[in-house]
């Protein structure tokens, strides 16, 4: 009975996620957001298509891993947190609680939706990069395995923190503003905009604790030749450490997220939603 109910909830969640993804794709403003993002990626790669940092090492090979990492961060953390905060305010979360196994279906749904968006964006980005830069982008079989492995682990680590951020903030507008700034700052200190080795020592310390630095590191190792490891902080590729750090973040997130989500859902009540709705009407 119980396992049956759980499996049913997961199925319902996947169905829910796919429905919401379809709705999102058919909403012009949301599709436009993705199209503009991909267009910017295309332009940046086009402008840097012939530039080389060192003989045989293209600038684009640094840019593509950073783009993939930022996309991962944006979709799994920022995007997911925005959805959670918004749906907490509009009553979706409490509605889920009023249904049997509702929270399980809800979180499965939100993960499914995030996965769909992530896979689409990453695949399209790689296709665009391959078209503009030509060929295999210097990625071999082993590199492909590293990218896939890091995408999965990184997704687990970051989605759970997306849930955490989504449950900590109260107001969708504050996630929109502060969250956006935080994502930018995080991308900077994680060496996704400018190599970490060129930044002050204290930034390097923070950066190396962040899963983003290591996700970017692993992606770079796949796109760049062996020798380019010399540009990295440790002077070489450290894939074992990368997987260990991101894995640790994933475990921490998996332990923390369900607890927080349940806690927040428990505190949410209909009258609190009504009170916030009134407050929102006042602000307009």
């Amino acid at each position: 009975m119980n396992t049956n109910a759980n499996a049913n909830a997961v199925r319902a969640g996947i169905r829910r996620g796919i429905t919401e993804h379809w709705i999102s794709l058919r909403t012009p403003s949301e599709t436009a957001f993705m199209v503009i993002g991909l267009a910017i990626v295309g332009v940046v790669l086009w402008l840097n298509r012939d530039t080389e940092i060192a003989p045989g090492v293209a600038v684009a090979s640094f840019i593509v891993p950073s783009i993939l990492t930022i996309q991962l961060l944006f979709i799994t953390c920022y995007g997911l947190a925005t959805v959670v905060v918004t749906e907490r305010e509009d009553g979706t979360l409490i509605r889920s609680r009023s249904l049997p196994n509702g929270l399980r279906a809800y979180s499965t749904g939100i993960l499914t939706r995030t996965m769909c968006e992530l896979i689409e964006t990453i695949v399209l980005t790689i296709v665009i990069a391959a078209v503009i830069l030509g060929g295999s982008l210097g990625v071999d079989g082993a590199g492909l395995a590293v990218i896939a492995g890091m995408l999965i682990l990184g997704t687990i680590a970051l989605t759970t923190f997306g849930f955490v951020i989504g449950t900590v903030f109260r107001n969708p507008r504050s996630v929109g503003g502060w969250g956006f700034l935080a994502v930018g700052a995080l991308a900077l200190v994680s060496g996704l905009i400018q190599p970490l080795s060129t930044m002050p020592a204290w930034v390097q310390v923070i950066g190396q604790g962040s899963p983003l630095y290591w996700i970017g590191h692993a992606f770079r190792s796949a796109f760049l030749p062996e020798g380019a490891g010399a540009f990295e902080l440790g002077g070489g590729w450290q894939l074992a450490i990368a997987f260990a750090v991101v894995g640790a973040w994933a475990v921490a997130g998996i332990l923390l997220a369900p607890v927080l989500l349940r806690r927040v859902a428990r505190r949410e009540t209909g009258s609190a939603i009504e009170a916030r709705r009134q407050a929102a009407l006042q602000r307009v």
């Binding site: 429905t19 409490i94 609680r97 009023s98 049997p100 009540t269 709705r277």
Partner: protein, 305 residues
């Protein structure tokens, strides 16, 4: 042998930051009853219903809903309870039929031999009068239609117990009438137990077998509309014209008074009217009576943000 009550509350107390909002509430609801919770704004209606739904943690007292403590009850319990909250505006971009199907599917594992699975979406939309809006986006619905969809979602799992918080706000008279029919149907044919809050006294009188008046965090009256009227002295109003002068008198039982009035010799009585007290008058009298005896806290709007 008395059957187990569906809702059994003893000595329920609730406070928000030290202020008492529910004070020693006792409440028993049996299977198949339709009970309306009435009271001024801030009387604690929504708080009571949210505690019974398991969405709020009480401060004290014992609460049993379908035999379980709602704070700790699991998913099998959830499957037997339908909830319509005061306000939701979620899932605006979903289509009506799609949303109902999505939520109905959550109840499928909980079907038993004597309790069939969820309503098919089409049947339920017919029942709440939204069949024509099956493919409409939820956000395109009017306030009343939206509320009917909320009710449909509340009953999609064929609950044993249904909570409705202000279910008919924003309904036009036709929608309201149809909603009342629906509640009758649920309680008569499916033996669904219903607890609703409302501001509409006529509605409470029409659909509820029993009315509870909550005021200042206490239950000040409990009974059918007729019983409540009987509790307030001067339940009927008698008006007449005697020798050209208009008179008014109120009496709990108008019959002896009218008999005596007409038996009086030599008087010319015209325009005699006897009018039973409306629930509205009973309600106002009861709330006024409870406010004359202040209990603990001053009255007023309670915002529970």
């Amino acid at each position: 042998m008395t059957p187990e009550p569906v809702v059994d509350v003893r000595g329920l107390r609730m406070e928000y930051s030290g202020r008492t909002v529910l004070d020693d509430i006792d409440l028993r609801i049996d299977r198949g009853e339709v009970v309306a919770l009435l009271g001024p704004n801030g009387a604690g209606k929504t708080t009571t219903i949210e505690i019974l739904e398991g969405f709020r943690q009480r401060v004290g007292g014992e609460v049993s809903v379908l035999g379980e403590n709602p704070e700790r009850a699991g998913d099998a319990w959830r499957a037997k309870v339908g909830v319509v909250l005061q306000s939701w505006r979620d899932h605006g971009r979903w289509r009506v039929g799609q949303l109902l199907q999505q939520f109905g599917a959550m109840y499928e594992p909980y079907a038993t031999s004597d309790r069939p699975g969820p309503y098919p979406a089409a049947e339920l939309l017919e029942l709440v009068g939204l069949a024509a809006h099956r493919d409409a986006q939820v956000r395109s619905l009017s306030g009343g239609q939206r509320r009917r969809l909320d009710v449909a979602i509340g009953i999609v799992g064929r609950p044993e117990l249904l909570f409705l918080d202000e279910p008919t706000s924003g309904f036009d008279p036709v929608a309201r009438h149809e909603f009342h029919e629906l509640i009758h149907r649920l309680s008569d044919f499916d033996e669904t137990t219903v607890l609703l809050t409302t501001h509409d006294l006529a509605e409470a009188e029409k659909i509820a077998g029993r009315i509870l008046i909550l005021d200042g965090g206490r239950i000040v009256a409990n009974g059918s509309a007729a019983e409540l009227a009987g509790e307030v002295a001067g339940a009927s109003e008698i008006t007449w014209r005697e020798d050209g002068v208009r008179h008014v008198h109120s009496a709990a039982d108008p019959v002896p008074f009218v008999r005596e009035l007409l038996d009086r010799p030599g008087t010319d009585i015209t325009e005699l009217q006897v009018r039973a007290q409306t629930l509205e008058e009973t309600y106002l009298a009861m709330v006024a009576r409870s406010e004359a005896v202040p209990v603990g806290d001053p009255q007023g709007e309670v915002q529970t943000a």
